[in-house]
């Protein structure tokens, strides 16, 4: 092997790389927050009394789950402007990521709602709790507890998916790495660094969520 690795060429760009990490985290945070709202709405719609709502939510979930994220981003960023709806790269990225995240978390959330036995509501009423108290203490918390591991997995998945929005030149870690690549021509090195940064972020968040899970959701089941 004759190739000389030169990571020092990347040193002047460390601030940009850190900024890239921060943008990636902000993008993931914004998308998962909006995605959760969409997911809750879709999960509720799927259980609705109205067939139209059920069909609409089902169609949305299936379309998103069965087409690649790249095509969804391109459709929103390049396709929708021909109908007169145009976005900045970042807004298009957040929209696409939220829609994607919403479809995947809808199933998770539905599982959580289903898992809460009907008896829980009735037990709450029997204890004389107010509806809001029932919701907070014996519906929301157990439901969150059940879906929390899956939701934190969804967050990490979203974090990794954000790299794809570099293809519409939305600014985040991958697109910043690409621009450093064109400035330094150290392709292999820059992508090794970016990969390590992604790895650090995904492990950092996975650990953080495990901690939260242990702190807030650990109490004896039986």
């Amino acid at each position: 092997m004759t190739y000389q690795f030169d990571f020092s060429a990347l040193l002047p760009y460390w601030e940009q790389l850190l900024r890239g990490c921060w943008l990636t985290i902000v993008l993931s945070g914004a998308s998962i927050s909006a995605g959760l709202v969409i997911g809750i709405l879709a999960a509720l719609a799927k259980q609705s009394r109205f067939a139209a709502a059920r069909i609409a939510a089902g169609t949305y979930v299936e379309i998103i789950r069965n087409t690649p994220f790249l095509v969804q981003v391109f459709f929103i960023f390049f396709g929708l402007p021909t109908l007169g709806i145009s976005f900045q790269p970042w807004s298009a990225a957040i929209l696409a990521l939220s829609l994607n995240c919403g479809a995947f978390s809808a199933e998770v959330i539905r599982g959580g709602i289903d898992a809460i036995a009907r008896g829980q509501y009735e037990a709450g009423t029997a204890l004389g709790l107010k509806p809001l108290q029932i919701f907070r203490h014996i519906i929301l918390k157990p439901a969150l507890r059940i879906i929390f591991p899956a939701l934190s997995g969804q967050f990490v998945l979203t974090l990794l998916t954000t790299s794809i929005v570099s293809s519409i030149s939305a600014e985040e870690l991958t697109s910043i790495a690409q621009s450093i690549d064109t400035l330094t021509f150290r392709s292999f090195e820059i992508y090794i660094v970016a990969t390590v940064l992604y790895l650090t972020m995904s492990f950092g968040f996975a650990t953080l969520f495990k901690l939260i899970d242990r702190l807030y959701f650990s109490y004896p089941v039986k």
Binding site: M1, T2, Y3, E62, I63, R65, N66, T67, P68, F69, L70, V71, Q72, F74, F75, F78, G79, L80, P81, T82, L83, V156, L160, T161, T162, S163, I164, S166, S167, T174, S187, F188, Y191, I192, A194, T195, Y198, L199, S202, F203, A206
Partner: protein, 216 residues
Amino acid sequence: MIRQFGLSEALAIFSGVQATILLSLIAFVGGGVVGLAVALMRTSERTWLQRCAGFYIDFFQGTPLLMQLFLVFYGLPVLGYKVNPWIAVAIGFTLHASAFLGEIWRGSIQAVPRGQTEAAYALGLSYVTRMRNVVLPQAMRISIAPTVGFMVQLIKGTSLAAIIGFVELSRSAQIIASATYKPLLAYGCAGIVYFVLCFPLSRLSMRLEKRFAVKT
């Protein structure tokens, strides 16, 4: 001059589906072979083998698929291998698939009741016989639904090959979109083709999951 979006353009997009299917199949078969080794290592009794496989899986599950493709695409020439794009993406997706399939199959192997392995021990069966005739056939039943589910993920994942210039379904949609200036139609067509490929597999996976869930 801007091309019209007609039947021939729709067909041009559709022709990309061949590369998508072929790439998915290569990745699935290659990933299956490597993935089985990863799963066996992960469930082995030797700690160092477990750790190696664990690290391998964590790496691929903790980094974006796009980065993995970039590393293979820019890394192979650096290591002295001049390969064509087909081989580069095939290697990239095979490695990616092997880690995910390895993890799915690890779970399935561990889901086989412990008594089965103990019974095989008691009968004095060798590792190979125990795995081949006792554990793996049972693990396979458990793994079918998530494996089919992963195929959907893999087919969708191959779209990222478009970013490094590999011509498949997404890339041909991109080409037609810029030639006709009808991105909505072009990406819509590509989306429909992906949907037609993935939806039946998703449904199959869900149905298998339900069937095995009732029986066990």
